[in-house]
């Protein structure tokens, strides 16, 4: 009987743990991408070359579509300031805006759309947002385009498994806008929580086609094929960035925003398929 009770309690404890885990799965928190956390002691000699040495942690909340380009930009800043660690919280802009409104600590917020930035700005949580990048939509299909998808119209075909981002996600808003402009009615198989989740479904082969950003096509490389949407049918995204009013590391936050708009930052953004406003 005692053994049974122990078993039962173990089961119960595991159940509670499992439920707790389930509740947090899928919600990215800060620290997901922290390539150089243990590297703060590197190249001490360089510190003297910069006028205002930045140190500590810089926590950047950034739209999922910025994942790769920001990781490179973060490394650039870390190289210039060896005592600085740049950490990213990458998710759908609407998730990040929600987290900021609920009081999540951050230094910089970069959104894929003005809508989410405005929501945060209305709460007085960020300083004046500035546009730093533009993007445009593209269709992605499996390599070699086995279904011969050419236009937005093809996405309405019955034999095409289409995945979009949810309406709350900027990429989903833009895609809905483009489809509406083109007068195309689609029935997506899934509405994902951020644009990289959308891209992933095509990369994995679970979806035949998706609408993502052109910059996502650049990052995905050979794993997918991008199909251009003509300017007339396309929707152009403008990415605003702002420093957080209560930033714990305001100097580093300002430096990161400056970097985004510097020639060096612009070059990196363009290399990753973004435009510059």
């Amino acid at each position: 009987m005692r053994v049974r009770l122990v078993t039962a309690l173990t089961v119960l404890a595991t159940l509670l743990l499992a439920v707790a885990c389930a509740g947090t799965t899928g919600r990215p928190e800060g620290g997901a991408a922290d390539p150089d956390a243990a590297d703060s002691g590197r190249a001490d000699a360089d510190t003297e070359t910069t006028s205002t040495p930045l140190r500590g942690e810089l926590l950047v909340f950034a739209a999922a579509s910025l994942t790769d380009v920001f990781e490179e930009l973060g490394s650039l800043l870390e190289d210039a300031h060896p005592e600085l660690t740049v950490t990213f919280n990458l998710a759908g802009s609407q998730t990040l805006a929600g987290q900021l409104v609920e009081g999540a600590p951050a230094d910089v917020f970069a959104s894929a759309s003005g809508t989410q930035m405005d929501a945060v700005a209305e709460e007085g949580l960020v300083d004046e947002p500035v546009p730093f990048a533009t993007n445009r939509l593209a269709i992605v299909v499996e390599p070699d385009n086995p279904l011969g998808i050419r236009t937005l119209d093809d996405l309405a075909r019955d034999d095409v498994v289409l995945v979009l981002a949810g309406e709350e996600v900027p990429a989903g808003q833009y895609a809905a806008q483009a489809l509406e402009q083109a007068g195309v009615e689609v029935s997506p198989a899934s509405l994902e929580v951020d644009v990289r989740a959308v891209l992933g479904k095509v990369v994995l082969g679970e979806a035949d086609a998706a609408i993502v950003y052109e910059s996502d096509v650049v990052v995905a490389g050979d794993t997918v094929q991008g199909i251009d949407i003509p300017d007339g049918d396309n929707v152009f995204a403008t990415y605003p960035v702002a420093t957080v009013t209560d930033a714990r590391n305001p100097d580093a936050a300002a430096a990161f925003v400056d970097l985004l708009r510097s020639p060096e930052g612009t070059e990196v953004l363009e290399r990753y398929g973004f435009g510059v406003p």
């Binding site: 049974r4 039962a8 439920v19 509740g23 799965t25 899928g26 929600g98 899934s190 082969g205 679970e206």
Partner: protein
């Protein structure tokens, strides 16, 4: 509401110092701090949820079409999953409890693994098996045109993967606790193996089976990670309540909290239903 949550508080009291040790009133300070912090960790989030619940509009929020859609889908998928768990899990539990063969411990570990596996990893694993390029999913699509990701059936599969172990471990313990002498006696009296199973074993097993079903169902109802990874998110087809909670949090926090409350009430209900079994006797 305080009445409803009481059983959650009771186990803490029940597992405190027993009557024999009542005399030792003074706990070391460190232990007291740990106790308060530990209880706070469990109770504060519950209190927060209850405090933030929009009580006056709760009814309206929970009868919104998109909310009803998620509730209906969760109910259907969790119940279908429960049936699958019973049909597939009870034989496995029997195998683990009543037979002996090489590799049995490994088999048991495999059956229990989804309990400790991060659900999102379960989702990825399901994709590699049943996705369109999966080991089984690819031939399945070639032969029948059927694909599981992005379908309600996919949700059921993901949810069953994660919840069936809870039924297996509980029913296995049940099989072990059934006194085999009753079965032997029935067999000696001429009952066939089927009759013994139906008339002796299963009735004795019933409490464990019900407990396992309750646990598996509660886990199925709460499944998030494996579902969203494997089956995606589409209202009415694959968006169950936990997915709706996650997404509503970004659209309308009140709705998310109202739905969370529903899941909390169900969880508490399951605990209350199982209190004799897991909460140390009657409350």
């Amino acid at each position: 509401m305080s009445l409803d949550t009481r059983p959650l508080v009771d186990p803490g009291a029940a597992h405190g110092p027993g009557p024999r040790r009542r005399g030792e009133r003074l706990l070391p300070a460190a232990v007291a701090v740990a106790l308060v912090a530990g209880l706070g960790l469990f109770l504060l989030p519950l209190a927060g949820l209850l405090l933030r619940t929009p009580w006056p509009t709760l009814g309206n929020l929970l009868t919104e079409p998109r909310v009803l859609q998620a509730l209906r889908l969760s109910l259907v998928t969790s119940l279908v999953s429960l049936v699958l768990s019973v049909l597939l899990g009870v034989p496995l539990a029997w195998l683990l409890a009543r037979t002996d063969f090489p590799g049995k411990r490994l088999l048991r570990a495999l059956c229990i693994l989804p309990m400790v596996l991060p659900p999102v990893v379960g989702g990825v694993a399901l994709l590699t098996a049943f996705g369109r390029r999966g080991v089984l999913g690819a031939p399945l699509e070639r032969l029948t045109g059927v694909t599981l990701p992005f379908t309600t059936a996919g949700v059921v599969l993901a949810v069953t993967f994660v919840s069936m172990p809870f039924l297996i471990v509980t029913v296995e313990a049940g099989f072990r606790s059934v006194d085999r002498r009753y079965e032997d006696a029935a067999a000696t009296l001429g009952a066939s193996r089927w009759t013994v199973l139906r008339r002796v074993t299963l009735p004795l097993l019933a409490p464990s089976l019900l407990a396992g079903m309750a646990l598996a169902w509660a886990r199925a109802l709460g499944e998030f990670g494996a579902s969203i990874t494997f089956a995606g998110n589409l209202p009415g087809r694959t968006q169950t309540v936990p997915l709706a909670v996650y997404l509503e949090l970004e659209r309308d926090a009140d709705t998310a909290i109202a739905l969370s409350l529903v899941l909390l009430v169900v969880s508490v209900g399951v605990l209350v239903a199982l209190r004799d079994r897991y909460l140390g006797g009657t409350t």
